[in-house]
């Protein structure tokens, strides 16, 4: 607690380093346990495996293993999940380089140069460079996390319910605007998530909402059951529609060596620049790793030296995309931890895990639980170091995993979904919820509705409602309270601008769709 007092009480500008060191030392104490260390390392292995498997990825890894993690001590649990996030963000590059199939969308840009490098007989080098860039990018993102999150939390400690209300709306709007696809469908999905979060006992009036007389619904839907259903069950149904279920992928063994570290460090300017881009995009809710990896690739290509042939197996291309998408993880944890506003669906799940473990991310967590915050900083930094070690040494294992046919994977994942969801509260009702949301997930996927806003809406829902009602309770002028306070008024303006952007993008999309349909109709008539 002495650490807590110093962490919260010290003025940030003169003693910023001391505050950060306080967090790190408090975190080191809890991190240096065999369980936390072991699970962080295990998380990296699991993350690399799920990242390498096309169709899974870090989000699915976190979702599938969340039920296992929430029974563990907080820092060990978060270490496991954050390490899956870190490992999964890098793992997609392995299948991108070897199979020309990105394991995750994050690794899509790695295809441009990773696969051509493999075709030139340098698959091991390409994987080694991808892993080293990911680890160094992740560490640089970690430095930003460690320095910026406490500052942002300190600033946010002056926030009152009106600011939090506007922040929650901003988080949802930003994710819908930036994540692409139909804006209206994104908003519908997010609003559906907000509604799901209202099921259960109202924390203000203690009235029961949408429980239909069922005691199972008194605490609402368990977020893990909902998310496993929405993502994992619907993904397995999508996988079942493919035809290569018995096929054993033809993958050649790759063994990256330690020399790939020096190969990567030759591109240090690219590495630092791409990590900075990744961290920046990570900190913006909704932007995420895909945008950051494509942007950093474009910037690296524009800044390439004459000899570097991007798109034909340039090492710099792999360095740019992989360092960017892993540094995004550090960036995305900044608003997640300091404001309680998740940067993307994976960080929303981490936020959900923290809530289940009994911690409310935001300034209060920095003040009351510096050991947990510091522990999260430590596990994130350690994850990236473990990534370098495990990634380079155990790549042949991940290559072997790529050879497992889907006929074994699909029932195994379904089984993991059901046991994991059952283990939450030994409840068959949770399994039924999982299946029901699996069907909703299939419908949403088929109708091209994004699923991430549902989860983010579900997590932001209670924050939004509680702060909206608190704002109205303390206000003497009703909704004008949101404009009376400078920070809240600024956030209102940002939200209005985001709304204008949404309307503009929707109109633009309708016009292009209508033009496309007209052209199609005309060509058919001809």
């Amino acid at each position: 607690m002495s650490c807590c007092r110093s962490a919260s009480g010290t003025s940030l500008s003169p003693g910023r380093c001391a505050v950060i060191l306080d967090f790190l030392s408090a975190g080191l104490d809890v991190f240096l346990s065999p369980l936390a260390l072991g699970l962080t390392f295990a998380g990296i292995i699991v993350g690399l495996v799920v990242g390498a498997m096309p169709g899974l990825g870090p989000l699915m890894g976190i979702i599938l293993l969340l039920p296992v993690a929430i029974g563990l001590p907080p820092v060990a649990a978060m270490g496991f999940l954050i390490a899956i996030f870190v490992g999964g963000s890098c793992g997609g590059s392995i299948s991108a380089i070897l199979l020309r199939i990105p394991g995750t969308p994050l690794a899509a840009a790695t295809l441009y140069d990773g696969y051509p490098l493999a075709q030139k007989g340098r698959a091991s080098d390409a994987i080694g460079i991808a892993i080293t860039s990911s680890a160094i990018g992740g560490l640089l993102g970690g430095v930003v996390l460690v320095f910026c999150a406490p500052i942002l939390a300190r600033l946010a400690s002056n926030f009152a319910p009106p600011e939090y209300t506007m922040l929650a709306i901003m988080g949802l709007f930003a994710i819908v605007v930036i994540s692409g696809g139909s804006i209206i469908k994104g908003l519908l999905a997010g609003s559906f998530g907000l509604l799901i979060s209202t099921v259960g006992t109202d924390s203000f009036s203690t009235g029961l909402r949408f429980t239909f007389g069922s005691h199972n619904l008194l605490n609402g839907f368990h977020i893990v059951a909902v998310v496993v259903g929405l993502f994992a069950i619907s993904e397995m149904a999508a996988q079942m529609m493919k035809r290569d279920l018995l096929k054993i992928p033809d993958v050649k063994v790759a063994r990256p060596g330690l020399h790939t570290i020096s190969l990567t460090l030759r591109h240090y300017v690219n590495l630092i620049r791409s990590s900075a881009i990744g961290t920046f995009f990570g900190a913006i809710p909704g932007a995420g790793g895909v945008i950051s990896s494509f942007t950093s690739y474009a910037v690296a290509k524009a800044a390439a030296r004459p000899g570097e042939e991007y798109g034909e197996g340039a090492e710099g291309g792999v360095v740019a995309t992989e360092s960017a998408n892993n540094s995004t993880v550090g960036g995305t944890l900044v608003p997640t931890l300091s404001l309680g506003i998740p940067g993307d669906a994976s960080s929303a799940m981490l936020l959900g895990a923290l809530l289940i473990l009994g911690f409310i991310p935001g300034p209060a967590m920095f003040e009351n639980n510096p050991d947990v915050v510091g522990g999260i900083f430590m596990v994130y930094l350690a994850s990236n170091i473990f990534l370098l070690v495990a990634g380079i040494l155990a790549t042949p294992l991940f290559v072997y995993v790529l050879r497992i046919p889907k006929v074994y994977l699909i029932p195994s994942i379904l089984l993991l979904c059901s046991i994991g969801t059952f283990a939450l509260q030994a409840s068959v009702f949770d399994l039924q919820v999982m299946l029901a949301f699996g069907l909703i997930g299939i419908l949403f996927r088929a109708a091209d509705y994004p699923l991430a806003p549902v989860v983010i809406g579900m997590i932001l829902g209670p924050i939004l409602e509680a702060n909206l009602r608190r704002s109205l309770l303390i206000s003497r002028e009703g909704y004008w309270i949101f404009l009376d306070r400078p920070v809240s008024a600024t956030l209102v303006v940002v939200n209005v601008l985001l709304l204008v952007a949404m309307v503009y993008l929707t109109i633009k999309r309708i016009r292009s769709t209508t033009k496309g349909d007209l052209a199609k109709a005309m060509s058919t008539e001809e």
Binding site: G71, A237, M241, P411, F422
Partner: protein, 163 residues
Amino acid sequence: MASSRTLNLIALGFLFAVIVIVFWQIETDFKEQGIASGGPYDDASLYPRAIAIFIGVLLVFQLVIESFRGRTTTLTEVIQASDFGRAGMMLAVFAVYLMVLTTIGYHLATAPMICAIMWICGMRNLPKLAISSVAIATSFAFVFEAFLNVVLPLGIWNVFIPW
């Protein structure tokens, strides 16, 4: 097979049903409990009602967009009915598994479920099917029961493995 427009309309219908449920509950259950009106503290309907109205407005916009859109490519051009059938059968097997899980227990229900899904995937080698389904079911049970202390459903016959 359904076109993308039909699927969009089904999704819109689902969301419309959700807002109907919200207003129906506010008018009935919320009013009975006295939480459908009052100030921000007592009015538990304020927030869900606002979101339901927002969804309703978005539904109207989406319907307008759908009416502007032409009939687009049918999904059958991309995915065959048999592929949909596989996914449907998997979901049916999984639903049956979840229904019988507590009655006959994890150890008796899981291996047949895995076996059935592998069969749907196209595996026809019976010894391989039997061995792999039992191996997967047992290894998951070992991890969860022995390491994570999870008590898996025992069923009416109390079937368990003393690890």
